[in-house]
Symmetry: C2
Subunit: 265 residues, 2 copies
């Protein structure tokens, strides 16, 4: 079975001396995704759930429209290629691939991001509310599930939740990849994402916010910091953005009305 980690020899060094031991290190795997026999991208990722990652990525980039659009998925773990065939070949223009938009984020670089992306997005409409206690309980469970991170300090985690439970959980060396794996799994297993929550271990930059808003998700909770563009987009797109959700405290940067301080509400 493929794992996301590898055991490697390491020297632990202090001012007192050196000792030789074994450390768990996170794997970095180059995955090439093709769509209708055309190479779309090579991602550096963790080598598990490659089908979820490929489908999540293609959907995030607007290259497939949904599960019905997928004719075939062939995963070749040996060569590091996932081949996807779609019903509707959107015939993505060379100029889209040509234009390299390199992002700030762990795990994703070039993206078909443009002003049009934002303009085409509709505001997330959802009356869902969640208590602070529920958020803390979900984040506690999220942290407990992040086993690879605990072992190696090297991966990001992402999860889809309702207000009570983690429904889908994934890990990847890239914070974008981790979220794409969640969305890919949701699509392939017909798990609805609208009106639910995403928890991420990673920073919330503009692209992460767009990715989540595109799924009509009203609540994004991060253990880390947001960027100013992430906050601005959350404001504009009606997404409740929580950062630094650690212990029994959190910062709410946008649309704070969905977070109810007192529990039992």
């Amino acid at each position: 079975m493929t794992s996301n980690t590898e055991r490697l020899p390491v020297w632990q060094v202090s001012e007192k001396g050196k000792s030789n031991t074994v450390d768990v290190v996170v794997k970095e795997f180059p995955l090439t995704i093709t769509l209708n026999n055309r190479e779309v991208v090579t991602l550096l990722c963790s080598p598990t759930n490659l089908d979820y990652l490929a489908i999540g990525f293609l959907f995030s980039e607007g290259l497939i429209t949904g599960k019905d659009d997928i004719k075939k998925i062939i995963v070749d773990q040996q060569t590091g290629v996932v081949r996807v065939e779609s019903e509707e070949d959107k015939g993505f223009a060379d100029e889209l691939l040509f234009k390299r938009f390199i992002t700030s984020g762990c795990g994703r670089g070039a993206s078909f991001y443009s002003a049009a992306d934002v303009q085409n997005l509709v505001k997330v409409e959802s009356d869902i509310e969640i208590s602070a206690s529920q958020v803390f309980a979900l984040v506690d469970e999220f942290v407990q599930r992040s086993e690879v991170f605990k072992a190696t300090g090297g991966v990001h985690s992402a999860a889809l939740c309702d207000t009570e439970n983690i429904l889908v959980f994934s890990e990847d060396i890239g914070r974008h990849n981790a979220i794409d794996k969640v969305f890919g799994e949701c699509m392939l297993k017909d798990i609805p994402t609208a009106g639910r929550l995403i928890i991420t271990s990673g920073r919330v930059s503009s692209e992460i916010l767009l990715k989540v808003a595109r799924r009509n998700i009203p609540l994004l909770i991060s253990k880390s910091a947001p960027t100013n563009l992430g906050v601005r987009l959350a404001d504009d797109l009606g997404v409740t953005l929580v950062g630094f959700a650690r212990g029994r405290k959190m910062n709410v940067y946008a649309n704070e009305w969905r977070i109810v301080a007192k529990s039992g509400g």
Copy 2:
């Protein structure tokens, strides 16, 4: 003066209640780099030292060969464009730009990375040694200088050092960008990099290792974890790779002979 941060209103929420305050959030800025009037890339970055970033990026990608190759640098902070003109137009092939290689890393995505990159690299030859005490002292100073990170939790830092002092320091929301800013500054100010150290706050993936080895730097010290490919390349390319340099301990993953445990050596 441009700063890397912005003050935004935020709600601090606990189970006891909500309070409204102001938080410092890191800025995310789209920077387009052109070379000889051709658009090369758009990076999401922190909005300072854009000239260093552009030059460091172009050099890392092999699109300029050195300081003598640079005819002109025009920074337009308003529109977010840095225009670089070079003596020698390497006429980078469309196919290079076309091929998107998306990395695991914060701050950089598509890269002209290929097997050839590794084959063309020569092993870093340097007899430099450093004591554990010197590493800890440098990392302590590095952490103290990382003011933006302390304020926002949202940026990476990188520094070029000799065994005693930090020589060049930079910050960016992307860990690749932070290192490119260091190298861009070194190039424009004629600061040698060979035989020196890089300290980074970020994870060491294969691309970070390649970037550093290309500069003939024998010591790479990270506060975070390496990936398995990062370790393998460090082994192969003769780079001493330190991870988890925190407090008075560190892990040495490759070429540990350059780290001397006892001080005063």
